[in-house]
Amino acid sequence: MGLQRGHRARPLEWLVERGIFLVSLSAILMIFLIFLFVGREALPIFFGRTNSSLVQETIPVDKLDSIPKPKLKEYLGLTDSELAGLDRETLQELMALKIEGAQQAPKDKDADVNTTAWRYLLKPHQWTGYDRAEFIWQPVSQIHKYNIIPLVIGSLKATLVALMFAVPLALGAAIYVSQLAGPRTKEWLKPTIELLAGIPSVVLGFFSLIVLATVMQNLFGYQSRLNAFVAGIALGLAIIPVVFSIAEDALSSVPRSYTQAALALGSSRWQAAWKIVLPAAIPGVFAAVALGFGRGIGETMVVLMASGNASIVSWSVFDSTRTMTATIAAELAETVFGGHHYRMLFMIGTLLFVVTFLSNLAGDLIIHRLKGRLEGKR
């Protein structure tokens, strides 16, 4: 009996191992699909192929036979199967309706503006009835106004407040837990702080809406009860466990020998932590902030419930504010499938995906390099 039974003797095993490999690609596939399918719905906006102007060129009904099918389809906003299912008379009727609709368009200087063009998404515009050019997000009005700047500002405002509140706390706790607490204390302290991550964001949103907002208003006495400040603090609660975990991990991965060397030279615990361990782990702290930022800008339920959701451009944190995420959550259900409002919300989703992707990538790379350096691989 020889040793040569060979790999061919186990085709099933070979097959299963190929299968394992294929399944392991699922994470990559999912990232790719998310980008593809969220981006796909937003594609017409990116390429300027949507038109939201109320006054559109009409085609006389008797020209029905002379216009090519694809154009007719686009004109009437039908799908292939719908177009095939309609007879001539119905088509003529639809065209007549279209003309009628055009005649009833509001007499507004902005009525023929395609508000989904990039110029209107990013730059201020003096809309009818306003005395100066403004950034306005107002999709559900006669003229659909899609300026995304108020939403971007809203997201940034809430996230910055959150970071300013969460980072010092989380970092302080990370230093305390990793450097100063005894092993016994650490054993219960770490999971307890991480328990904060187990509180669903809708519960944090609820808490800030019902309890926190009132307490804060009584404390600071500002006008609108729900605002970027309350949303930011609530968001901070969601960010604390993220920043804490990553920072604690980075601090703990600094070799014990560093601390011991410092202590042997006669420095105190805090000197070792502050002057030796923290500088060594500082990239990890940056990574924690980057990932905390990603988490904050992408958080939905907290800001939806606590921010007040008014899309005003203002740098005051005590004004009601509307974030990108909350806008998607609040408005998508009311949009027409495939319409410009629908596509606009997917465009915001794509932006969010790209921004969080980049901040995660940055955080990830920093951590990888840091670990490599501390483990002496580079």
Binding site: I20, F21, V23, F206, L237, T300, L304
Partner: protein
């Protein structure tokens, strides 16, 4: 604690004064401030956690009753004396269980590939890991958009168009518990992968060698030795994924959660009522927030009990596993 100054030769004299006592020369203010500030930050976080939990338990307990968790909303969602959360508990449970069916196998297999097969240094492995980390950071609302764009419009719409072309109403191409579960499965994939990987790495390499030296194939070793050993870790990952998914609302807003349903979901294509979404509705849509406050708090308590209890179990299993690994390593 002896300080440095006592063992350093005093300046201006060549003789080392070894007889000086090892006493603190002065109060170490910096140490005090530093420890105080970081300790204060820690305390503050703990206090916030305690306040949130305390507030919810205190007020939630008042509105909590056996009737509340065993009755539905047929008398109206905002009826303080009649409304219950049974349909929401069932809906949330069903969607996370369905999710587990998808996420556990895929997550575990990916982790097995990463730890047992892939070379840890190759670029390809780095890309997979990067994708896993990135998936963990994708905003939950984007998962919702993805579920709508991919699962419902593309897959569901495709099924309706090609397999069921003669139905007047969409069957699969609309929000449903099945699509919500799939969306959540994509979202929690990193949780399962990371937890499983951690437990696979903690297995002593000696066990793998022992099995291979007996003539077991790699796959036999993985299936019969490695996976059973990693079971606590896999379980932890599963529980954490369930706990995370149970509280998520944003991804299911457009993929399956219903504002109100008269009956429980019966098919995979039905929508469902959800605990987290119900919290959102009660907090923002209530006609009289003061009156409905008791059921709002009670609903939050139920949701919190569900997610935190699961989290707690996962933490316990993990702590036990780590202790066991430490013992085994000696």
């Amino acid at each position: 604690m002896p300080t440095a100054s006592s063992s350093v030769p005093s300046q201006g004299s060549d003789r080392k004064d070894l007889s000086r006592p090892f006493r603190k020369s002065s109060l170490d203010v910096a140490s005090f401030v530093f420890g105080g500030l970081t300790g204060l930050a820690t305390l503050l976080i703990l206090a916030i956690l305690a306040i949130i939990l305390g507030n919810i338990i205190w007020h939630g307990w008042a509105g909590f009753s056996w009737r509340f968790v065993t009755s539905g909303t047929s008398q109206g969602m905002f009826d303080v004396d009649q409304a219950g959360v049974l349909p929401m508990i069932l809906g949330t449970t069903a969607r996370v269980m369905l999710m587990t069916l998808f996420v556990l196998p895929i997550g575990v297999i990916t982790a097995v590939y990463l730890t047992e097969y892939a070379s840890s240094t190759s670029l390809f492995t780095r890309i997979i890991r990067g994708a896993v980390n990135n998936l963990a950071g994708v905003p939950s609302i984007v998962f919702g958009l993805f579920g709508l764009g991919f699962f419902i419009n593309f897959i569901g719409g495709g099924i309706d168009e090609f397999l069921l072309p003669n139905r007047p109403e969409p069957v699969w191409g609309k929000p449903a518990i099945f699509w919500a579960s799939l969306t959540l499965a994509v979202m929690t994939l990193p949780v399962v992968i990371v937890a499983t990987e951690e437990s696979l790495k903690a297995i002593l390499p000696g066990l793998r060698e022992a099995s291979l030296a007996l003539g077991a194939t790699k796959l036999e070793t993985i299936v019969m030795i490695v996976i059973p050993q990693a079971m606590p870790g896999i379980l932890t990952g599963g529980i954490l994924a369930v706990s995370r998914a149970a509280g998520e609302v944003a991804p299911i807003l457009f993929t399956g959660a219903a504002y109100y349903m008269a009956s429980l979901p019966r098919a995979l294509t039905d929508q469902f009522m959800d605990l987290g979404y119900h919290v959102f509705i009660l907090s923002t849509q209530s006609p009289d927030i003061e009156r409905t406050r008791p059921i709002l708090y009670a609903t939050v308590l139920v949701l919190l009990l569900l997610t935190l209890a699961l989290n707690f179990v996962a933490i316990l299993i993990r702590a036990r596993m780590r202790r066991k690994m430490r013992v085994a390593a000696h």
